[in-house]
Amino acid sequence: MKILTKWLRAYLPGLPVEDTQLAEDLTLRGIAVEGIYDLGAGNGSLFEMDITTNRVDAMNHYGVAREAAAIYGLPLPALEFALPGAEAAGKPFSVKIEAEDACGRFTARVLRHVTIGDSRDWFAGAEVATYFGLLEQKLISNAVDATNFAWLAMGHPTHAFDLDKIEGGIVVRRARKGETLKTLDGLQRVLDPEDLVVADHVKPLALAGVMGGWDSMITPETRNVLVEAAWFDQMAVRRTARRHGLHTDASHRFERGADFNAAPVASALVCSILLANGGSVEGELVDVRVPAIEARTAQRAPVSLALSEVQRILGTTVAAEGITATTVENVLTALGCGLASKTESGSASWQVSLPSWRLDVEREIDLIEEVARVYGYNGFANTLPSFGGGVRALPWAEAEAAVRRTLLAAGFHEAIGSTFCSAAEATLTAPQPGLVVPLGNPLSEEAGVLRPSLVPGMLTMIAGNLNRDVSDVRLFEVGTVFSGSTEKVEERPALGFGAAGSLPEQSALHAGRAIDFHDVKGVVEQVLARFQMRTVYFDGFPGETGLMPAWLHPYRAARIVADGITVGWFGQLHPSEAAARKVKEPVIAGEIYLDRLYMLPLRKPAAREISRFQPVRRDFSLVLEQSVAWESLDAALAGLQIPELVEWRVREVFRDARLGEREYSLLLGTTFQAPDRTLREEELQGFQARVVEAVGKAGARLRS
């Protein structure tokens, strides 16, 4: 919204400050001036305003002038527009409000023998052409300009009808089923029985408070005019405007609450502009009011205000005297309130009557806000409240931090992906198919549902990097996943991760190798190792079982099981999914259900004695059938329960042409150590024999 300081000064000739200071003072009191543009000598400035939605009363020149008057303690003359004497009417123009819940006031004035044409300057000091020129507002015709001028001056919507198109008189009512109306935008609209219309005795003329009708609009041929200035209810206008997809200046104001008392003033303003080109007034102003609505707008019951309450809410001021009774009275009076003092037990309090243009002010707290606002927020001190309670962290904060630290230490960057994915991606990745929650008004089809998994977002981000030629990708996300129905949505924390590219990531000297399943498995194991659990295992499911998530390579992926509960999946992205994302490199990705992990206690570090005695390493070169997995050797070695066998691991796995086609070699490394003695050769030979026997039962033979 634009405001001319030249126009403001016409209302407040005594304004004691320059335009820039005025802008600052208004802004500090919530009437924000976003931009100041100098319009040249004698023209003042143009203010670009940003006024919050609750302050519709200040979205016009007179409203801003009222704020300035309160700030500087200036008197602001009431708006009055004298009209020439009326010619007697045969009988008063007929106006009837049928929809008494939605129309609080309807004023109508009849003008005869007007000339529709260019606007003429119409009184000294407030020239339509001058102001419109400075505002770059187009002059159209005196009828349109007059309502625009009234809008800019006082923010009250008005409407002018071609009187000769009105049959009978005016009825404000709800539309009838099947009625149609061609509105000023040229659209033929079918009306809803809930729509509020201004009608004549035969047909609807306008969408009340939203937009006028085509057939009754002012044309160059118009000779007789009916000027409407009314008050329509917020919700009624809002619903009508919404239903027809309209948002007009008029609907904007009425939706937020118009000034009940402004109608006759705005009407006089519009009429006086029109009459500057000739014509005459016929009869008195027809002014129909609904008492119930008047009682809740212009005639509201006074509100009690106590100084002690003002001080309880606002606290300490920089100035020693604080907020006084005088401050309260000066501020509220300047804003148009009436204050009746009622002395109660020595503490000041008032009965405050409320201005008709401030429907946003209706409670004691609203008055307190007005006091603080005009007093100036920066006049309050900076104090700190005392506090004696403790601080609680979230129950899972430590576990989440441990997960993040592990991924960061493993070289994964943290990412934040979209909360949404497509229905197809959801079907592909949802841990529980069928429990995907669609949005009613999605941003796009690709973002049609709440993500049931972090995998779609992770794959999108990985593909994004690879397609931008960033070859080494390590990403993780800790975020919420959703499941359920449109009735009830469950949210769970999850960890998504993904990797592509080579290891080491950057070296001039060493050849890189592609990051693989086991590199990522190591990271998964490190994450699991942060929690206390009795058992962990990884298993896969052959493709035909249908148990493997479809986005994973059926033979290069694993389920993660901790203490018997599935806590996640990971593995190589299925080649067809990779191809669908135009990704050529292998991508290893996965997801861990953190809600399940968080049920386990965090592992607490505890030191154990490190033996002072020499450890002994023994390696075994083994040959295994293709079908024998490491897991069975591992279990066999664990089953030995030799306390001195402190560590065993695979040192190498390799294929050898000299072996059978369905065999492979495995170099098993073992370490023996006792806490209390140096191991003797006989002991060691005994252990070795048991190891050979155990792995032999598991399907491995010693290589000769």
Binding site: E369, F380, T383, I416, R474
Partner: protein
């Protein structure tokens, strides 16, 4: 190693002795300087100090025996001195390890870049969230969270946005499908702010409350350089007896100084939020120019950072339905909320909000 054989000595005067021993010492030193392997050092030791064929042994047997009695003392002194020199040369050679030449053969191009492993970077949004939360934790605020899918009641009605109120227009909302037949209060939507957690907290806990609420929120906004349908907020709520507007000012002034440096100033403007009254916008003095005016602050010297206000009595009334202790005549409180992306963009010089959600390794790697 070629060393001259020990000559026979014919003259035994002091000058002749000095000359003969000096020649030997020179040979010993020259030979020691060339030692480059442990094997060479051992050979040197045998050559000079060996019991049978060692050169010093040879000197002893040839020269000392041949010397006249009166010259034996002078010769003995010089012999012992030479032996000490050889032993010290040997000690030095033994301690020094491989020679410089041997080491030079192992030279590397130290200017080649180091081999790097990726170091994971915390997301700048997480980092900023944590910073904000820890500032308030130090002021006695606990951490609270709430669901991202909310009911209309918690997101709007309980926060004093009545059904059909124009204030709802300011927060374009993404809704869950199929809500049309449900009661307005129960309709599910993506929360548009973290404020619903205020109500959830108050329903569970009587005053006093001090809570800080980090979280992800969503709006049905078109994406541009500074707007994203996904963003993060940190909400704060403090409720107790005698909490005032000046306490709100003091708390946020302190928090802004803790986040942006002690020289930062704050100023408060009237604003409008349905759930606070009085409501304020808070500006901080521009952290780029110190308030002098620059491009970043549009020459104003100030940057708008957060919204806040005293909790509206209507919000307490809703909370009071489950916790009667929220009686607005007896308690009061303030709430505040800030956009994390905006703060992170400012702190780290990020120009496009969309970069936070693209997962681009090149962008994220800058925050290690």
């Amino acid at each position: 190693m070629s060393t001259e054989a020990i000559p026979n000595l014919t003259a035994f005067d002091e000058a002749a002795l000095d000359q003969a021993f000096a020649a030997l010492e020179q040979q010993a030193r020259a030979a020691a300087a060339a030692l480059d392997t442990p094997e060479a050092v051992e050979a040197y030791r045998l050559q000079w100090l060996g019991r049978k064929q060692g050169r010093l042994n040879e000197v002893s047997s040839r020269w000392l025996k041949a010397a006249p009695a009166e010259a034996k003392k002078a010769l003995g002194q010089r012999f012992n001195a030479l032996k000490a020199v050889v032993e010290s040369l040997l000690d030095a050679a033994l301690g020094a390890g491989p020679s410089d030449a041997a080491l030079a053969a192992e030279a590397l191009d130290i200017t080649l870049p180091g081999t790097r492993r990726l170091t994971g970077a915390e997301h700048p949004i997480t980092r900023t969230l944590n910073e904000i939360v820890s500032v308030f934790a130090a002021l006695g605020y606990s951490v609270g969270v709430g669901p991202e899918v909310e009911t209309d009641f918690y997101n709007f009605e309980g926060m004093n946005f009545p059904p059909g109120h124009p204030a709802r227009d300011t927060q374009d909302t993404l809704v869950v499908a199929g809500q049309e037949r449900r009661a307005q209060r129960d309709r599910l939507l993506l929360r548009t702010h973290t404020s619903p957690v205020q109500m959830r907290t108050m329903e569970l806990q009587p005053p006093p409350v001090r809570i800080v609420i980090p979280g992800k929120v969503h709006r049905n906004d078109a994406a541009d350089a500074t707007h994203s349908p996904i963003f993060h907020q940190v909400e704060g709520l403090c409720v107790d007896t005698n909490i005032t507007f000046s306490d709100l000012k003091g708390t946020l002034d302190h928090a802004m100084k803790a986040l942006f440096g002690s020289s930062v100033k704050t100023r408060f403007f009237p604003s409008f939020f349905p759930f606070t009254e009085p409501s304020a916008d808070v500006q901080i003095s521009c952290i780029f120019c110190g308030g002098k005016g620059c491009r970043k602050c549009k020459q104003s010297g100030w940057i708008e950072l957060l919204g806040c206000g005293m909790v509206d009595p209507a919000v307490f009334a809703f909370a009071g339905e489950k916790q009667p202790a929220y009686d607005p005549k007896k308690i009061s409180g303030f709430a505040f909320g800030m956009g994390v992306e905006r703060i992170a963009m400012m702190k780290y010089g990020v120009s496009e909000i969309g970069q936070f959600y693209a997962g681009d390794m090149r962008f994220l790697g800058q925050f290690v």
